[in-house]
């Protein structure tokens, strides 16, 4: 196909898809986007354009925060800090160094991005620490502004000289239009990211972090990306809104701003891209009613009302509400995506296999405190070979898998993959190289369908599906998304679950979920598959089916290491058996040989004769 033909086909597919996904919501959104720029020219009574533009800037920051809170599930109480950093950086550059507005605004956003990177280590932590860390950040920035009047201009703030924005006098009208463009672009980019592979991975990490990381999704990096992107958008919005206000006043950036942004996100609906903007609008409307009331009663209510609205909100959330936009969506049902036709998986050509074992473990040792879990285990796996690792509870089987998959470093010993030593590589790197693992626990992604769950496992084969390319919807990213889907469907087909591809995972049976997890690991195109307790709780018919699936995987040339308690499955599926006892290999051989071995009987039953 010529490049031109390819592009034309690509365009046609994009149009088809857009048409299929078009809904009444989309019409309403497009109409709103088309009409909103006209607002300044309508001279509506009682509408102050500067406060309107300021609200839209706030909506931009909230939309950015939606990525952190909604997609990544991080409880951030620090979004306002990034607005403040953007605002004061740009304000100082304009007021003190005489910079033009545009580079100053970009510098402000960049400063917020850097602050996000510096504090971003907290995204690896549990929710309570993320919330506490961002809360500290919000207070840190505000206390800094209060403590250093030389930077913040003290109680008067920094007065900003009038400037031009994009060649025009920076009037509220210009700011309003700029803010609208920013809001549209931010929302489009975030919508694309959330629908694409990065959004899927963020949501997988939010729903079941252990399962997602075992599939090779790098938790720290993905979450940091979302956190930093939100920080950048907040910094940009902060830098522009401060120019609109013409004064940088520290009082406007107290930690309440961060809280207000979080409330807007939750009120509008964190699950929807447009939710945060709707939340900002709703808070604005509440303010329109309550502010005059407060003035009439001479009460300093401007904060109290938001706080009370927030308390009401959390009660609404407690009752299971998801915010304004998800609630509205119920009236505009969007059809669930069904099969996309005409996709053929392009199988990745593997580098030609070198002779010899694909995986070797040499003298692996691991102790937890005084307990030696693994005491010098060595094993080898050849291409297309299925080896079962059996042994009584506590004999070190799962520890062996954890060491080989890189979940934990061994105390001593080495793991070789294709002759290459794996040492510093953590789980995501090893999955990318071709060593995948399924977990013993039956964790699953409660908000994803079977196919989407399997797609999470494709993350290690992404080249063009990074957040930026996904946001820009580049042809490569689109093509790769299609290929990923085809590969995921093939993996589902391999485990025999093609017909439940679009079924939400919670509706599947436990053994189906286990097979979905297996398919997810397969979707990453591993050369070695480490399987932990595939048959736990399976009935005898299921067992035969599982053995068949393992046979199919083996037929693909994938080496399988099966940790298994169920000796029937071992008999049905394994070429070779390795028996572990007290962290050491005590017997090795064919199923029949091992079953007759005295050592094995002793390991399982003790020395007593039955």
């Amino acid at each position: 196909m010529t490049a031109l033909g390819q592009t034309a086909g690509e365009l046609r597919r994009a149009v088809d898809e857009a048409r299929a996904g078009w809904s009444r919501v989309a019409w309403i959104t497009v109409a709103a986007v088309a009409l909103a720029p006209l607002v300044p020219f309508l001279s509506l009574p009682g509408v102050r354009l500067d406060s309107l533009a300021d609200t839209v800037y706030l909506a931009v920051a909230a939309t950015g925060l939606g990525l952190t809170v909604g997609a990544a599930g991080l409880p951030s109480l620090g979004a306002g800090a990034f607005m403040a950093i953007g605002a004061f950086t740009s304000a100082l550059l304009v007021a003190r160094s005489g910079w033009p507005l545009e580079p100053a605004v970009l510098a402000g956003a960049a400063a917020a991005l850097v602050a996000g990177l510096i504090s971003g280590g907290i995204v690896r932590l549990r929710g309570a620490f993320v919330a506490a860390g961002t809360w500290l950040l919000a207070w840190l920035v505000w206390l800094f502004l209060l403590a250093f009047p030389s930077v913040s201009g003290g109680s008067q703030g920094l007065i900003l000289p009038p400037k031009t924005l994009l060649g025009l006098d920076a009037t509220p009208t210009v700011h309003f239009e700029v803010a609208l463009v920013m809001l549209t672009l931010t929302a489009l980019a975030i919508a694309a990211v959330r629908r694409g592979a990065p959004g899927l991975e963020l949501s997988a990490l939010r729903q079941a972090p252990r399962l997602a990381t075992s599939l090779g999704v790098p938790l720290g990096r993905r979450r940091l990306g979302a956190f930093v992107a939100s920080a950048f958008v907040a910094g940009l919005a902060g830098a522009l809104s401060v120019q609109l206000a013409a004064v940088a006043d520290p009082a406007a950036y107290d930690p309440f701003l961060s809280f207000k942004l979080l409330v807007a996100v939750l009120l509008g609906g964190a699950a929807a891209t447009l939710g945060p903007a709707a939340g900002v609008a709703a808070l604005g409307l509440i303010g329109l009613v309550s502010d005059p009331l407060a003035r009439a009663l001479q009460l300093p209510l401007e904060r109290f009302d938001t706080a009370v609205a927030a308390i009401l909100l959390v009660f609404v959330l407690a009752l299971g509400g998801g915010g304004i936009v998800p609630w509205l969506r119920r009236f505009f049902p969007l059809q669930r995506r069904t099969a996309r036709a005409g996709l053929v998986a392009e199988r990745r050509e593997r580098a030609q296999a070198s002779a010899g074992p694909v995986l070797q473990a040499l003298e692996l040792r691991k102790a937890f405190g005084g307990v030696v879990a693994l005491d010098g285990l060595s094993l080898e796996l050849a291409r297309g070979e299925t080896v079962a690792l059996v042994g009584p509870n506590g004999s070190g089987k799962t520890t062996a898998l954890r060491l080989i998959s890189g979940a934990e470093p061994p105390d001593s010993g080495r793991v070789l993959f294709g002759g290459r030593a794996l040492t510093g590589e953590r789980t995501p790197d090893r999955v990318r190289l071709g060593v995948a693992r399924t977990l013993q626990a039956t964790a699953y992604f409660p908000e994803l369908t079977a196919l989407e769950s399997v797609l999470v496992g494709r993350s290690v084969r992404r080249h063009f599906g990074g957040a930026i390319r996904t946001a820009l919807v580049t042809p490569n990213a689109r093509e790769e998304a299609a290929q990923s889907e085809a590969a995921a469907r093939e993996a589902l087909d391999l485990v025999g679950l093609a017909d439940v591809a679009f079924v939400p995972t919670p509706e599947l049976t436990t053994s189906q979920r286990r097979l979905v997890a297996l398919a997810a690991a397969l979707a990453g195109e591993p050369e070695v598959l480490l399987v932990d307790e595939l048959a736990a709780g399976a009935g005898s018919e299921e067992l035969e089916y599982i053995a068949e699936v393992v046979g199919r995987i083996r037929g693909r040339g994938i080496a399988v290491l099966l940790v298994e308690h169920n000796l029937r499955l071992v008999r049905l599926a394994a070429d070779r058996v390795l028996v572990l006892a007290a962290g050491r290999s005590v017997a090795e051989g064919s199923v029949a040989e091992v079953a007759d071995s005295d050592v094995v009987r002793r390991a399982y039953l003790g020395t007593q004769r039955l």
């Binding site: 809170v69 599930g73 409880p75 109480l77 510096i118 504090s119 971003g120 280590g121 907290i122 690896r124 932590l125 549990r126 929710g127 309570a128 620490f129 919330a131 506490a132 860390g133 809360w135 500290l136 950040l137 207070w139 840190l140 206390l143 800094f144 403590a147 250093f148 972090p209 252990r210 990381t213 075992s214 938790l219 309440f256 809280f259 979080l262 409330v263 939750l266 964190a270 009460l299 300093p300 209510l301 904060r303 109290f304 938001t306 706080a307 009370v308 927030a310 308390i311 909100l313 959390v314 009660f315 959330l317 407690a318 954890r402 998959s405 979940a407 789980t427 693992r437 977990l439």
Partner: protein, 310 residues
């Protein structure tokens, strides 16, 4: 040398209060895995309820306090603080913990924090208030100051340090020895397990929510007459407590108390100590420790703090 002693004792007095907040934060984290962002403001609510009973919303002078009336006001304040804490737990924390939703309790407790701060700000509109002093410290030494060597130290500081230590050690002892304490430790180890063997987990945690507030409030009131108070006082004390608790990554409560003491001394030193002509000065007092602890947990977190990963 004299200035060092002065800085040290003043810092310890502030740190004793921080320490009780830190111990409260860490105890709550260990019981529930959550952070109560309203902790400081709930204590602030108690402090201002006490102030309201004592002298209304007028600015207060030393003469306003008579002992029986003060005790009555203190009891009212404690009741407010404890019951608001318990209500917060049952209304805005427990439902979310039960559903495993982090964002819910984060938004809920932050909402309570800002609502209380706004309410106090609305009722007490001056920028600062003087808390009446029930104890006649001004009669000790030179108008309340004791001279040690060449150092001038507020007599109140020793009282606050002693009280904070007594409260911390006393509650640590209770946690260790009493039935209530044993039950709390069981919940901290394994809430589900404790629930299964019949420990009334929610009731205990709610009580703990209230009681850590009461402890912190007593210390805050003991220290309050020494400086001006306003709606931010409670919030900032809660923040300092959180900083100290995070510095020890929500370790044992007594360790967190120690971190609070240290934070007080460090703040005092940053504000007052100069080495030759080099001095940081009061501007750095609050921001430096905060920035340090934020970087500490961002760059060097404990294993327990990490999200469960493969």
């Amino acid at each position: 040398m004299t200035i060092a002693l002065q800085v040290f004792v003043t810092g310890l007095a502030a740190g004793g209060v921080y320490g009780l907040f830190a111990a409260g934060h860490t105890l709550i984290y260990r019981l529930t895995g959550m952070v109560n962002f309203a902790f400081g403001d709930l204590v602030g609510l108690g402090v201002f309820a006490t102030l309201l009973v004592l002298s209304g919303t007028a600015p207060v002078t030393q003469s306003g306090a008579h002992e029986p009336r003060f005790l009555g006001a203190l009891v009212v304040g404690l009741v407010f603080c404890v019951s608001a804490g318990i209500l917060t737990y049952f209304g805005l924390v427990q439902p979310y913990l039960a559903r495993g939703s982090t964002i819910g309790w984060v938004a809920g407790t932050a909402a309570v924090a800002f609502a209380i701060r706004a309410a106090i700000g609305a009722a007490f509109q001056r920028s600062s208030y003087v808390f009446p002093d029930p104890l006649p410290f001004h009669r000790v030494g030179h108008a309340g100051f004791i001279r040690i060597g060449g150092a001038q130290v507020q007599a109140r500081a020793f009282f606050v340090i002693g009280l904070a230590l007594a409260l911390a050690l006393g509650s640590a002892w209770l946690l260790e020895k009493s039935r209530f304490g044993r039950a709390l430790r069981a919940v901290a180890d394994d809430a589900e397990g404790a629930r299964v063997v019949g420990v009334p987990v929610d009731l205990l945690v709610a009580l703990a929510f209230g009681l850590v507030g009461a402890l912190a409030m007593i210390a805050a009131i003991a220290a309050a007459p020494g400086q001006a108070v306003n709606a931010n006082t409670g919030t900032l004390l809660g923040l300092k407590g959180l900083v100290a608790a995070l510095a020890v990554r929500f370790g044992p409560p007594l360790l967190a108390f120690g971190a609070g003491l240290l934070l007080g001394v460090v703040e005092s030193a940053i504000a007052n100590v100069h080495l030759g002509s080099w001095q940081l000065g009061p501007s750095y007092r609050e921001v430096l420790p905060l920035a340090f602890v934020l970087l500490l947990i961002a760059i060097w977190p404990s294993r327990e703090a990490l999200e469960e990963q493969e």
